[in-house]
Symmetry: C2
Subunit: 167 residues, 2 copies
């Protein structure tokens, strides 16, 4: 991890570094989602994860387009934040037997991931604008909107589980 190492001197350096951070994160999420799909019990949750896997693959492509527009190599950097978040998310595949508890844990883990992405894309959009890269900002904003929509869907699923329990 070298987020704030010697090679970050300008806003452009910071932008490119964090772009590589989220590029690494999106790829890790593509790897992590199939197990979450397999473990999800509620059909709506399972379908939601499947849809989000497709979206996430598309986010990787959009990021590659941002790198191309900005004239930088598309590559990832290690990021202990997303590694830690995904480590927790993957543990969902563990030992919870009760279906309701498993889904609740999966939803919470997925929301941790979404919120990390939402905050990272929020900064990147602001920095792209600051750097006069409206073209990059537009693409990053599209990824941001899809992450926000996924987070909202997960909240609805969590709430509907609460309501089912109360009914």
């Amino acid at each position: 991890m070298s987020l704030f190492s010697h090679d970050i001197k300008t806003m452009d350096d910071l932008f490119v570094h964090q772009l590589r951070d989220i590029y690494y994160a999106e790829k890790q999420i593509v790897n992590a989602l199939p197990e979450m799909i397999q473990k999800a019990q509620d059909p709506t949750l399972k379908q939601g994860f499947e849809t989000h896997l497709g979206e996430t693959k598309n986010h990787v492509k959009r990021l590659e387009e941002v790198f191309r527009l900005h004239g930088k190599e598309a590559k990832g950097v290690d990021c202990p934040a997303i590694d830690g978040i995904i480590e927790e998310a993957e543990d969902v595949a563990g030992e919870v037997e009760d279906k309701q508890v498993l889904d609740a844990a999966l939803i919470a883990a997925a929301q941790d991931v979404e919120h990390y992405e939402i905050t990272r894309y929020g900064s990147l959009v602001a920095w792209a604008k600051q750097l006069g890269r409206g073209d990059c900002a537009n693409l990053l904003q599209q990824n941001l909107e899809e992450e926000k929509a996924t987070d909202k869907k997960l909240t609805s699923l969590a709430e509907s589980a609460v309501n089912r329990k109360a009914a």
Copy 2:
């Protein structure tokens, strides 16, 4: 890390475990903020971090009250997600010399922390309600609202930096 280990069988187990996760996280944030206060260049950002340190100490106390109400021991559990996020945040103390870049990096790191807390408190409030613990839900909601307000302030600071740059 044993988030989904054998000892999580019920929604109550999951609730208590994640309560211990955020309790650990809040204490780590209390430890991390003084260095961020010291490093912040913009006086409004510095003051914002100072205010949030006071709020965070209060969040720890509210969590101890939640543990008490729920009849469980107030203790933390290791959590690689917040450890990773804080590892990145602490690296802000590193090698960035440009003041504007340093503040931008500090704001982004702080927002990573806030979003982790927002998602964690969001789940905890929902689960407290599901478990019929309205008293705990109310206290957790207070922490959630303060985290959201802090995140909003950080977004404003990030945007005003962009506007200053554009002016």
